[in-house]
């Protein structure tokens, strides 16, 4: 399938490891020129060096900081002359119950995963409008659709991301900026490695138990990979997905339970 992505410029936040890095690699393979960002210079440089890509730039930015996000968009456009695809991927998963999560932790989570994409959208919109369109894809962990008692920060923040995607899609569609989401669950990545450690400490399950149980819980009976997410992102970013707006694709082995 020809995705028509050759020569397009894609910015991926949180692109230095795991799912974000896989997305950057996948889009590079499809011929995109790639911008990634990260908070630490060392990690960022490593990621840029890792990517097999003809044309990649790395920018230091913390998506929690609106000034950083504005600079990130400007830097990308200055470097490449345009911007066609934004993948908002930065943000982790925060487990915990309401009495165990500090207010500051929740606020920072909201800043990373809602205010960050908000600022990305606000700053990229003038460029995409001038170019006649673009793609804005948000990675939303499946706690947004499947609330969990022990993951209230991510449950609340991810649900807000869904509302943001739909509302933004309604606003941007007339300018041919298509806004969609990809919803991962049970993906092997540094993030889920961290979660296993958390559950080992707090639930007393070994890493092996945790890994096999999570695999067993999901209908497909196994874990997915960052590449699975990257493929869905590449499809949604492509010319082949020009009538898809304001929706999301689950990449979760069948985890979420809604029939709609």
């Amino acid at each position: 399938m020809n995705l028509g992505l050759t020569g397009k410029v894609a910015l991926i936040t949180g692109g230095t490891s795991g799912i974000g890095l896989a997305i950057a690699q996948r889009l590079a393979e499809e011929g995109c020129r790639i911008a990634i960002c990260g908070r630490e210079r060392g990690k960022l440089d490593n990621a840029v060096a890792t990517l097999k890509s003809a044309d990649t730039r790395g920018f230091i930015a913390d998506v929690c900081k609106p000034a950083d996000v504005a600079a990130l968009i400007e830097d990308t456009v200055t470097a490449f002359g345009r911007i066609d695809v934004v993948v908002s991927n930065a943000g982790t998963h925060i487990a915990g119950r309401i009495d165990g999560v500090a207010t500051e932790t929740l606020l920072r989570h909201f800043q990373t995963k809602v205010v960050g994409p908000w600022e990305l959208a606000r700053n990229v919109a003038p460029h995409m409008r001038r170019q006649g369109g673009g793609r804005f894809i948000v990675i939303i962990g499946q706690t947004g659709k499947v609330p969990q008692a022990n993951a209230i920060p991510s449950t609340v923040v991810n649900a807000a991301q869904h509302a943001f995607v739909k509302s933004l899609s309604d606003e941007f569609a007339k300018d041919k900026i298509l806004v969609n989401a990809v919803c991962p669950s049970r993906i092997k990545s540094p993030l889920t490695d961290g979660l296993k450690l958390y559950n080992e400490m707090y639930l007393g399950r070994s890493l092996e138990q945790q890994e096999s149980q999570w695999g067993a819980e999901v209908p497909l009976g196994r874990w997915g990979t960052p590449d699975d997410i990257a493929n869905a992102v590449a499809f949604l970013a492509s010319e082949r997905a020009a009538f898809i707006a304001g929706t999301n694709i689950d990449v979760d082995g069948g985890h979420q339970r809604s029939i709609f």
Binding site: M1, A173, L220, D228, A245, N248
Partner: protein
């Protein structure tokens, strides 16, 4: 993107025209062998003749999917011709409008027979083949009346919601056999179906074609109709090796029409 579909065998129902035919064509272009069916033999044969350009491997079997015997014959012919079945796209069935007051039991029953029983029969017929292969990909085409059961879409609203439940239930049941089941939910796609709806608007509201068409294109945020080819591209992605961790999901392709935040 290499979808990994070369050499796979696909079965597509309702593929003489419109969305089904575009899906068959897209899968042929990706290197699949394709078996198609339709009720009208003449239309089906014309589609097979068109699709077989360039030596593509395609067969057609006139089939009414509401007949279990006919479904068995169709699936048997596909296996006989191509040796296996990797992909099933359940697409046969139309969109029927009507309110709770204007819908007769016969209309509702016909819609349920086409889409609930028709999809069910096809799934039951291909599952043994896919289970043997430990690999299969099923996509149900389910119009957005499932998510938006407007008062004048009673037959389709009720029927399509049942097909969504079938999609999730079957996905859960066969996931451990490495068979993935998903739904693709189109709305406002340029097809004979949409043309007939526009014609009906012109007739019933006594408006010209531009006015009647505008009502449909204005209804979604993108402000245009989609094409059968765009639906076919989404189906191709979901049945491909690039989508191996997605099952029990439904993906809307409707220009942003649906109002669900999570769907």
């Amino acid at each position: 993107m290499d979808l990994g579909l070369r050499g796979k065998v696909a079965v597509v129902t309702g593929a003489s025209r419109g969305i089904g035919r575009a899906i068959a064509n897209a899968l042929l272009n990706e290197g699949c062998a394709v078996a198609i069916c339709g009720r009208n033999a003449e239309r089906l044969n014309a589609a097979v003749a068109d699709l077989s350009d360039n030596g593509a491997r395609v067969i057609g079997v006139p089939t009414d999917v509401t007949s279990e015997a006919a479904v068995g014959k169709f699936v048997g012919a596909a296996v006989e011709a191509f040796g296996r079945i990797d992909i099933l796209v359940n697409n046969a069935g139309t969109h029927i409008r009507g309110t709770v007051e204007t819908t007769t039991p016969a209309i509702l029953e016909a819609q349920l027979r086409d889409k609930v029983f028709g999809f069910f029969a096809m799934i039951q017929a291909v599952l043994p083949v896919m289970e043997r292969q430990r690999d299969g990909r099923i996509v149900n085409i389910v119009g957005q009346a499932a998510r938006h059961p407007h008062p004048d879409r009673f037959p389709s609203g009720v029927t399509n919601a049942a097909v969504m439940a079938m999609t999730k239930s079957v996905a859960d049941a066969v996931a451990r056999d490495n068979i993935r089941v998903n739904a693709v939910c189109p709305q406002y796609i340029e097809s004979e179906l949409l043309a007939s709806l526009i014609a009906r608007e012109m007739r019933e509201r006594n408006v010209d074609r531009a006015t009647a068409s505008a009502g449909f294109t204005r209804a979604n945020p993108l402000g245009r109709t989609g094409t059968p080819e765009e639906v076919a591209d989404l189906v191709s992605f979901l049945v491909s090796d690039r989508s191996n961790f997605t099952t029990g999901s439904s993906v809307s392709i409707d220009g942003g029409y649906h109002r669900y935040v999570f769907g």
